[in-house]
């Protein structure tokens, strides 16, 4: 049963029975049970999987989220309702439950041959986590894209149509370039969220950074060193992304539009 969460808790009681915690920072340079990599290297491999999962899921989230977000602002009641339902569906089910639905439930619901193919796929937990995170985040991106487009004065859409642009052209040349600039800060926090949320992949067996730290803790009994290592790497990733997004914001800024309504970046 590939459930990462239901492991034995012998490691816990073993450390908890010690009178005092024994720090050993050199543990990072000792060989891990795989016999090839040091513990530090296993954390770096975990980091690689975290970034690979988050980045590929981000591509899905950005493409689908933009599509759904744009549809939510179109003058077509049926499509708007459909895309609203999409967003509500993905926002109101916990990410962990969605992960289980994709990993355990989907292969049983599709026709048998496809189900078999899904179950036997190499790196199944990576692809599952990628699709699950991508769709989950796409609903949140859609929310931001919609808010960005709606924050533009309605005169922009009217002016675009009045000068003879088609509706797709109005979106492509008038609305979206401004909307994306406005929602850059909340999109940054969604990107940080997708990196953090990729840790949920450990429940379906994806050995990303948190899982790598967890397994280091289980084998080496150095609980706090392992989690400190992971924490430091997460902070470093955060700092790099926040820094480069600030730079990108400045680079993309339209002169004279600095103070244009900035939707609050909530969570």
């Amino acid at each position: 049963m590939p459930v990462g969460g239901l492991r034995s808790f012998t490691a816990v009681s073993a450390t908890a029975d010690n009178m005092n915690y024994h720090w050993n920072w050199s543990i990072f340079f000792e060989l891990s049970p795989d016999g090839v990599h040091t513990y530090l290297q296993t954390l770096f491999i975990g980091t690689w999987w975290t970034l690979a999962t988050a980045l590929s899921a981000w591509v899905i989230a950005l493409v689908l989220g933009s599509l759904v977000g744009v549809i939510r602002t179109l003058p077509h009641a049926g499509l708007v309702r459909l895309s609203n339902a999409y967003v509500e569906l993905f926002r109101n089910i916990p990410l962990l439950v969605q992960m289980f639905l994709w990993y355990f439930v989907l292969p049983e619901l599709v026709p048998k041959p496809i189900g078999m193919w899904l179950k036997q796929m190499p790196a199944a937990s990576f692809f599952t986590a990628m699709v699950c995170l991508g769709l989950y985040t796409s609903a949140r991106v859609a929310e931001q894209v919609k808010a960005g487009i709606q924050s533009l004065p309605s005169g922009q859409r009217m002016a675009g149509l009045a000068v003879g642009l088609t509706l797709p052209q109005t979106y492509r040349y008038v609305l979206l370039p401004m909307a994306y600039r406005i929602i850059l800060p909340p999109l940054t926090s969604e990107f940080l969220n997708i990196i953090k949320n990729s840790a949920v992949g450990l429940t379906i067996g994806l050995v990303e950074l948190t899982a790598a730290a967890r397994s280091m803790q289980e084998f080496s009994f150095q609980v706090f060193e392992a989690f400190t290592g992971a924490m430091v790497i997460y902070i470093a990733i955060n700092v790099v992304i926040v820094g480069s997004m600030r730079y990108l914001e400045r680079w993309l800024a339209v002169p004279g539009y600095v103070g244009l309504g900035q939707p609050a970046a909530m969570h």
Binding site: M1, V3, G4, G5, L6, R7, F9, V12, T15, A16, D17, N18, M19, Y21, E88, L89, R91, N92, I93, P94, L95, L96, V97, Q98, F100, L101, F104, V105, E108, L109, L192, I195, K196, N197, S198, A199, V200, L202, T203, T210, A213, R214, Q217, V223, F224, F227, A230, M231, Y234, I235, N238, A264, M266, H267
Partner: protein
């Protein structure tokens, strides 16, 4: 497609799912929200205090919590809390902390960082003139906070605080990584015992959806009513 499914397994396990599982989930959500808001308000007041050591301390705590995945924070506190308990009670051994207290402390500490940012934005949304007027009337700083600023700020914040509570409700499912019997944990235990993963996980998803969706619709209605009053 659903012909060989055993929906009866849900009926049979309903008491376990709701009396054991959902009760844990709801208790954890309510207590963690309450504690998180109290702690978050203190953090926000520290950040806005204008006293450099306090605001730097609160600011770094918030940034630290917000840069880590919740799963990692759950692991951190699960192992850390026994040692903190030992240190606080001067015991000779790390204190044994049950799964309930461990997860309650985790969620309170983690969500406090998010509540802090909400409360901070709420306080900053109150025009400066209000606290100036309170000072001019001769109220102390504490009085102006307690009688003038916070009541208005919290009124403005209610919808966002409730939305964050719905997020917290969904996030509590992550205690699964500690094998705790919350609602999802209960569903997952039945699922594995009876080999009925599909039925149980679909049912769990439906229950979470119904609760979160209705709650968010209520928040939306409340938001409209509050907006009219203001």
């Amino acid at each position: 497609m659903f012909s060989n499914f055993d929906w009866d397994v849900i009926i049979r396990s309903l008491p376990y799912l709701f009396f054991d599982g959902m009760r844990f989930t709801c208790t954890l959500t309510v207590l963690a929200t309450t504690g998180g808001i109290v702690l978050g308000t203190f953090l926000a007041l520290m950040r806005l205090s204008g006293i450099a050591p306090l605001s730097i301390l609160a600011g770094s705590y918030v940034d630290l919590m917000r840069s880590m995945p919740l799963v990692l924070v759950i692991f951190w506190f699960y192992f850390l809390v026994p040692y903190i308990g030992q240190w606080m009670t001067d015991a000779s051994q790390p204190i044994r902390v049950g799964p309930f207290w461990s997860s309650l402390i985790t969620f309170m500490m983690f969500e406090a960082a998010y509540f802090c940012e909400i409360v901070r934005a709420g306080i900053q949304s109150i025009p400066r003139g209000q606290s100036n007027a309170a000072m001019a009337l001769g109220l102390t700083r504490a009085q102006s906070l307690g009688y003038i600023i916070l009541p208005q700020a919290f009124r403005n914040m209610i919808p966002v605080l409730l939305t964050q509570t719905i997020i917290l409700f969904q996030d509590t499912s992550l205690v699964y990584v500690l094998s705790i019997t919350d609602f999802l944990g209960a569903a997952s235990k039945v699922a594995q015992r009876d080999g009925r993963l599909v039925e149980m996980y679909l049912f769990a998803a439906a229950v979470y959806f119904v609760i979160s969706f209705s709650a968010s619709q209520l928040v939306r209605m409340l938001q409209q009513r509050l907006a009219v009053v203001r």
